[in-house]
Symmetry: C2
Subunit: 337 residues, 2 copies
């Protein structure tokens, strides 16, 4: 069973992932490149459904059976799950100082397409819309489990971003705790609301629209920008203009527009930075803290073009070598179609 452990000095939680645990002596070997016959052995490709755990959810053609071809989006439990759904998340104290609990949660993989070599930048827009509709379905389902406090939807693209599997996929983790990292963000947003009477993210959107130089793209309901204090080159925020604190507040019919802006943004990044490794995460409030007037959901995209080094790890201050306004101008001017 995986375990959640709390750092007694900082109160931050860590997952000790025993299901994917490696022997210490395996760690010096580095990350393997994909094998030559990558595609034949890929568990996520159409026709290989039997090499994954049974599907939890899918979009598939009428009349096709689960765990057979015919799907275009497929959600399965992660075979090497960081958290497992059995049990209850009770805390245990050791020596009056160290706290831990069972690693209770969900860890799912969302296979974004039956096609091995596609990526959001190169997929049809309709497929991207279906990915976001599927995210929304899983977010709603997992946030209803009273044991889970956070539902985190994220994507790792490429080795530097933490995946060696090329087949396009995202991951969804439901965790039984709200980490300090998120608590602090919420507290800061709350303080701003108390001082000004508005959501800080709503105010940021207004000011960024007025200034204009950090905006990459804008549609009726979304804005894409390089944040004023971007932590690394091309950190990008895709943010809904209307206020809502949880991702599932998005109406299903608006997923089409979100898919359009996400594909546009990722395509510009793909083209201008030569298909860089990247992560994206849907930032949303804890799942039981709904309709917060001071918090605002958004998608953070982080191209992994520079390494996080000792200074960042020790101080939490990031050094960014690209001026956000230059990054925004560069992406604005990158052709989309």
């Amino acid at each position: 069973m995986p375990e959640l452990r709390q750092n007694p000095a900082t109160k931050e939680w860590v997952i000790i992932a025993t299901e994917r645990a490696k022997r210490p002596e395996e760690m010096g070997l580095g990350v393997a490149n994909p094998p030559a016959n990558e595609k034949e052995r890929c568990p996520f490709c159409a026709g290989h459904e039997r090499s994954t755990p049974n599907e939890i959810f899918s979009f598939r053609s009428f009349g096709t059976a689960p765990n057979t071809p015919g799907w275009w989006i497929r959600v399965i439990p992660n075979k090497f799950a960081a958290l497992l759904p059995q049990g209850s998340p009770d805390r245990v104290e050791l020596e009056g100082l160290f706290h831990y609990m069972n690693g209770v949660g969900e860890h799912e993989v969302l296979i974004e397409s039956p096609e091995h070599t596609l990526t959001i930048a190169t997929m049809p827009e309709k497929q991207v819309e279906e990915i976001f509709l599927a995210y929304r379905e899983r977010y709603i389902a997992l946030s209803q489990d009273p044991r889970f406090e956070m539902v985190i939807i994220f994507k790792n693209h490429g080795l530097a971003a933490g995946t060696s599997l090329r087949h396009p996929h995202s991951q969804i983790i439901a965790a039984p705790i709200t980490p300090n990292h998120i608590r602090h963000r919420i507290e800061e947003a709350m303080r701003y609301f108390d001082d000004h009477g508005h959501c800080v993210y709503c105010d940021m959107i207004q000011k960024e629209k007025k200034l204009g130089d950090r905006i990459v793209a804008e549609t009726e309901n979304f804005i894409v920008l390089e944040p004023f204090a971007s932590r690394s080159p091309f950190e990008t925020m895709v943010i809904p203009k209307s206020h809502a604190s949880t991702f599932d507040a998005i109406a299903p019919e608006r997923c089409k527009e979100l898919a359009y802006v996400m594909r546009l943004t990722l395509k510009k990044i793909y083209r201008s930075l030569n298909n860089p490794d990247y992560n994206y995460v849907i930032v949303s409030s804890p799942s039981h803290e709904r309709s917060l007037e001071y918090y605002h959901w958004y998608i953070m995209i982080l191209p992994r073009v520079t390494a996080v080094a000792g200074f960042e790890l020790g101080s939490g201050i990031y050094i960014n070598t690209v001026i956000p306004e230059s990054a925004a101008k560069f992406l604005r001017e990158t052709p989309f179609e």
Copy 2:
């Protein structure tokens, strides 16, 4: 001039490093491997003193002139400094929301040896002692400048840890702000002190000694351990047993013992994990907040054997695939000499 910018929503600071700024179109090229004639072109090797800015500090043979050979430790300004010493750190507000200030600070490089291919694991112990004595000198000098709030001493070893220069070196940054990341750590330590009347790190040392299974090594005045909630495989803490909140509290004569434990630890990591990329950072209180009874300095070593992925970036919860007790046992059993 570099610029410090504050994220209006999280209050975290970021350095926009204009001195090392790249054009956006340069970012898609990836990190270059060292050239074949690496050593001849290395600015840090003995004999190449003229290819660096003038030295700030050195340990060198009697009678040799600054910026000529004869040194065994040399501290120089970073040629591509993230912060610059001129000016004053006044804050500016933009549109009532965005705060920034001049990037005032110091950014130094400490060249750890005249020899290009050594690393702490393979250096003579005496040389490691001199490195720590030099850290201490620079820490004291920089923490006396009233403009600087944090002095951060760190090392990047290898590409994944953020350096492409093989010549052994560390860096020292003096920053004009205390980041939220550090504030939160201090607040948690303060809360523990208020609840229990002891420093949480002092208590942790006592409990870890009692339990024993996460200890890698111990000397009279230092303990080396894999923290209970290690964030990644082989995260290692080298911590002084006696209470002190700032690094410069170390007596010069105790640097010999610290050098012994650091070299022992890094040599065990070097041997057992096949010379992995790693970072270390000296964690210390803000430089004007001295003699805190609730905070405790230590050295954090982070081998970079796994990638930080979307989940960690979005949630702040790390997934660690090696059980800290197994990592400690493995390092304990790795021969040192």
